[in-house]
Amino acid sequence: MLRFLIRRIALGLVTLLLLTVIVFALSNVIPGDVGRQILGPFAPQESVDELNQRLGTDQPLYTQYFNRMADYARGDLGESYASREPVSKLIGESFWASAKLALLALLVTIPLAVIAGVYAALKRGSIFDRVIVTLSLAGSSLPEFVTATFIIVTLGVSLSIFPVLARPPDGADPLTQLYYLAMPIMALVIVYFGYIARMARAGVVAALEADYTRTAVMKGLKRGVVIRRHVLRNALLPTISVVATQTGYLFGGLLAVELIFNYNGLGRLLVTAARDKDLPLLSAGVLVIGIVYMIATLLADVLISILNPRVRLGEDG
């Protein structure tokens, strides 16, 4: 177990290193002249030079990269070009707002999707199964902003059930906050329901057809026992990975949902940063989301290895 953990974390660190190189390459190498890209073609050369000096982008690339990493390691994420505020402050404030939205969405999605997926697999071929399969295909293939638009038009405007802007009044109690967040949460749930339900269904279908299940049935175990002890334990392992992957991707979906519902989170912050060409803020934000994804998948791998000894004892772990 310890060997598996060490190996997994070491590989994770290598990936993290590569991730920083990718983000650095995108934000500092592609534009060529970073200052020029930010200020546009008509800015005077002096302003461009000054900005490059302030951002440190007048130095050789490897110096820039190492300086940047040294700053990051000290918790200094640089300064936003647009607002001149520290990036760490801007990201810190909005990150938790986004995390709240994402966690609430996952809290609703995971039980709903797993139950629906498992039930669909057990009733394979029934109308319920077909409805779930179709809904999850449609839900997860649509961009979040399309789903969000439909939700606003129907529940927000036509039926006026929920407030259209996800901005609860200051000091609102949790229930009121939830009421204001209901539509953005719904938009996220519809998308992530599909991925998780399909994975749960596929896992259960495969497990039901597996030899160990047949053995369990043949030795006379009750159906309920077979499903709980043999089918579900094996079937839901891949679902854990999907949940982790989707946790990272949820932040991608937040870009659109926060924008459409005017929610002050990381997603909206980064879209604004992209429009302003605020590369220091945007690249740090992208890195943060990448790290969230990596932590989520790391936790999932550890959880799976605890539940499934085959993974941690296998030769190539």
């Binding site: 990272g248 979906g253 992209a274």
Partner: protein
Amino acid sequence: MSAVDPTAFEPPAPLEDAGAAADRRSARREKLRLFVRNPSAIIGGAILIFWIICAIFGDVIAPYSPFATDFDGHVPPGGTNILGTDQLGRDVLSRVIIGSRDVLIAAPICAIIGVGLGTLLGMLMGYYRGWLDDTLGRVIEAFLALPVPLVALLALAALGSSTTTVVLTVGIFFTPIVARTVRAAVLAERENDYVQAAKLRGENGLYIMFREILPNITGPIVVEFTVRIGYAVFTIAFLSFLGVGIQPPTPDWGLMVSEEYALIIGGYWWVTVFPALAIASLVIAVNLVADAMQEVNER
């Protein structure tokens, strides 16, 4: 092609014999027959053809110019403007019809770039294994930590937004995902006798990859290609919506939603809902076709 094939014991011919080619052709025809009878393929295909017709003959079909601001702003649907008009008085129906053009050109190009580069990388990784596979595998792992719309957002902020940069960016960011799929397919093939035979014959790596392995993994590659087109439609619309994709005044669906979603509260739902429905129908159609292909392929 099968294990009991008597010709398998003879020295392998450098090019495949006529029998194997005929087998492959008839297998392909059988797949096509199953595909055109698949209900998902029929529904998805019909919607797809509808949008392709709109993209090609849009100028003839659309009742008005998508750019002309000839009407009053925010005329509700019905009457002369079947789907109403937008804030500037442009006909929504015409804009939705012409709006299919950019995305239907851009999405397949993204998929071609992603699948082309991804297949090349995936084959190299799966065939040579070793340090090349390990190194590229780590890089791919790092790319997968970032959702495509998010890295694309960063790349477009750094590159500047235009239809060309959007297509290149999305296509390139699809590469790692495709490479992983193709690598897995190559790994499943590389231990087969025909690969060993080609090696013993002294064929070089490139020949084996492209002439021996590639024809045997076209199935998963074609499925991946269709799936990528679906994701490309998704991502292009998404980036336009975020304001870093296709730029105004092009009648693009994602852009149309982004221009007026804030006015839904005012009751002007038609300007956003119709392009949103168009995106939904196209994405679902491509996914239905991809699903049908996968089903036929796995049979």
